[in-house]
């Protein structure tokens, strides 16, 4: 019995001659937040899709709760408890909070062949769940389009957890958000981890990742540059690894500026 809830060992994925991923290894314990950092084109999207069961890895193995797992479809990944929240969130702005929360998995009541969508129960659960993370949904039948970006992100994460995710895979959850909204989402991610979930947080924003992450895996051109515990690596070191050193000077100037803004807030 290992300590790890889920292990992705030496995962490789090829598209024809292109090596999209090579020997990427990630191991997560319960309650751990691992940040997967990488610049554009580093292979983050391919890795997410491999974790979510969209792509089958060409090499390597996935071990979940000490059992070797093969995903044939995204549904298999969902069924064992790997919940992926994509960047587009899979939310429909015109539909209500409740209808989005239960989209595709609506609770039903009534007799066979005449089953109805149990709207009251769904409304109650959706409002409760959002309430638990401090988002007061006054009216669960209000359209998701009226919510802020951060609230939408929290709704999508909350939905994944409600439907049994043990491992949360979050694709750039803070990329489109302002500082305030981003911190709201990050707070929720920490809370989810504290309740025993393992979280893989994919981002290119070290400033968002560093405060919440327990460990960091850096991806560069399809290869893992290694996994580091927080105590072993500084924010600056992570940044230079991500950027691959080339644009470091330019970045540094920019980051000093960003830090200044951060501190101001």
């Amino acid at each position: 019995m290992s300590d790890y809830l889920v292990q992705f060992n030496n995962i490789s994925k090829f598209f024809g001659k292109v090596i999209a991923l090579k020997d990427v290894t990630m191991r997560l314990k319960k309650g751990e937040i691992m940040c997967l950092l990488g610049d554009n084109g580093a292979g983050k999207s391919t890795l997410i899709k491999t974790l979510a069961g969209v792509h089958k890895p060409d090499e390597g193995e996935i071990i979940f709760e000490d059992k070797k797992i093969v995903f044939d479809s995204p549904k298999d990944a969902l069924d064992i408890g790997i919940g992926t929240v994509y960047q587009d969130l899979a939310l429909v702005p015109l539909m209500s909070v409740t209808r989005n929360f239960f989209m595709g998995r609506e609770p039903q009541k009534g007799i066979p062949f005449l089953k109805t969508f149990d709207v009251e129960k769904a409304n109650k659960i959706a409002a409760d769940r959002m309430g638990q993370i401090g988002i007061d949904v006054r009216d669960p039948s209000q359209a998701v389009g009226t919510m802020s970006g951060g609230e939408r992100q929290c709704l999508a994460i909350s939905r994944a957890i409600y439907f049994g995710a043990k491992v949360l895979v979050l694709d750039e959850p803070t990329s489109a958000l302002g500082v305030h909204q981003a911190s709201m989402v990050l707070k929720y991610i920490v809370k989810a981890a504290s309740e025993g979930l393992a979280v893989i947080l994919i981002t290119h924003n070290v400033h968002h990742a560093y405060p919440v992450g327990n460990s960091f895996t850096v991806l560069n051109r399809g290869k893992s540059m290694g996994t580091f515990q927080k105590k072993d690596i500084s924010r600056e070191k992570l940044l230079s690894m991500m950027a691959g050193g080339e644009e470091l000077d330019k970045l540094e100037v920019e980051l000093q500026e960003m830090d200044r803004i951060h501190n101001k807030n």
Partner: protein
């Protein structure tokens, strides 16, 4: 974690009820897609009440007349609305009406099939056509506008070619004698609540013919179908899992697929729905007229879409209602009949139809912005 205590607020659930009450009924109503069509219907009734109140338009006979026209349009408008909410169009509705008509008439008249069997055959063909439309759109990813436009021509052409080939004409008369004693045809050809009208007639509350029978003999089958379909479609959309899937498929195809909604199956079933609704329309019309005509249903697809749009359906999908489409159909049906009771030339009806639709689209656009507006 220190964050935990802050983020959980038990207060919110306590406040919930009193907060809910703060939303005024007016606001709830404003958020409903059918609001525009409901208001429009009321305006239309007020208008004709003033202009044509004493002309017999609102006698039992006059009302059944415009309700019949509204109901026929409503039957296809509701199916078109559901498909539009699911994010697709069907331009082959009108051609399907003509095609279904001859699918009933030719086997019954020329092949000697019993009428019920011809009706079943027409519905089977409708399912096939709808399935084909759906599978083409889902598998090729082409816009349904193009796929069903092709179907519009194919079906109309088939209808003409087959009818002329078999009968040498473009019309197939002689169905009326077959309706009696048929186990299925009464569903599309019987006036209901006759006793009520006879009773009202005997009390001299409604107009009578010279022989003493009431002028309006009963509720036409179209109206019963219209009401039943409106209720059924509303129940599906608001109260079932499948209804939620329709909204999801039209609202965001990719997102819906990612959370496990069978988008392809939902869309195919909705295309079958419009073809079946066209066939119901055809059954009622063919059995009422006693004949099938190859040109039946021409342009009906556009009227159905117009009614759905006036009823609050967004052209982009994901939003709308069956009740709205029903009111949209009532507006068009009432105006198209009501105009005969006024001094206005009937040529102006199309102008009205177009103007109504434009106003509705602008209004819907505004509502959508309101609904999706970020805080």
């Amino acid at each position: 974690m220190s964050l935990k205590s802050k983020s959980i607020s038990s207060k919110s659930s306590l406040n919930e009820d009193e907060r809910l009450k703060k939303i005024s009924p007016l606001r709830v109503l404003l958020n409903r897609p059918e609001l525009g069509a409901l208001g429009g219907s009321i305006l239309v009734f007020i208008f004709f009440g003033i202009v044509a109140g004493d002309t017999g338009m609102f006698s039992a006979y006059g009302m059944l007349n415009f309700l019949d026209v509204s109901a026929n349009l409503g039957i296809i408008a509701i199916a078109a609305a559901m498909l539009m909410i699911g994010g697709e169009f069907d331009l082959s509705i009108g051609s399907m009406i003509g095609f279904a008509g001859i699918c009933i008439a030719i086997p019954a008249i020329y092949w000697g099939w019993p009428l019920w069997m011809s009706i079943v055959f027409a519905f089977a063909m409708a399912v096939l056509v709808g399935y084909f439309n759906g599978i083409m759109v889902v598998k090729t990813g082409l816009p349904s506008f193009i796929v069903t436009l092709a179907m519009l021509f194919i079906l109309r052409g088939l209808t003409l070619a087959i009818t002329r080939l078999i009968t040498g004409r473009t019309q197939v008369p002689g169905l009326r004698v077959l309706i009696e004693d048929d186990p299925l045809a009464w569903l599309f050809a019987t006036d209901t609540f006759k006793w009520l009208f006879t009773w009202l007639g005997s009390l001299k509350l409604i107009e009578l013919r010279t022989d003493g029978t009431p002028l309006a003999t009963g509720i036409p089958p179209s109206v019963i179908w219209f009401i039943a379909l409106t209720l059924f479609a509303t129940w599906i959309l608001m109260k079932t899992r499948y209804g939620n899937w329709i909204f999801a498929s039209g609202g965001d195809k990719v997102g819906a697929t990612n959370v496990g909604v069978p988008v392809g199956r939902v869309k195919i079933s909705l295309f079958i729905g419009t073809a079946v609704a066209s066939t119901i329309f055809a059954c009622i019309q063919v059995l009422d007229a006693g004949s099938a005509d190859t040109m039946r249903g021409t342009l009906k697809e556009l009227e159905a879409i117009a009614a759905a749009v006036v009823g609050g359906c967004l052209l982009t999908g994901g939003y709308g209602s069956a009740i709205g489409a029903a009111f949209g159909a009532i507006i068009f049906g009432t105006v198209s009949m009501g105009i005969f009771y006024t001094d206005v030339d009937t040529d102006w009806f199309k102008v009205f139809l177009g103007a109504m639709m434009l106003i509705a689209v602008v209004f819907n656009n505004y509502i959508r912005k309101k609904v999706t507006e970020s805080k």
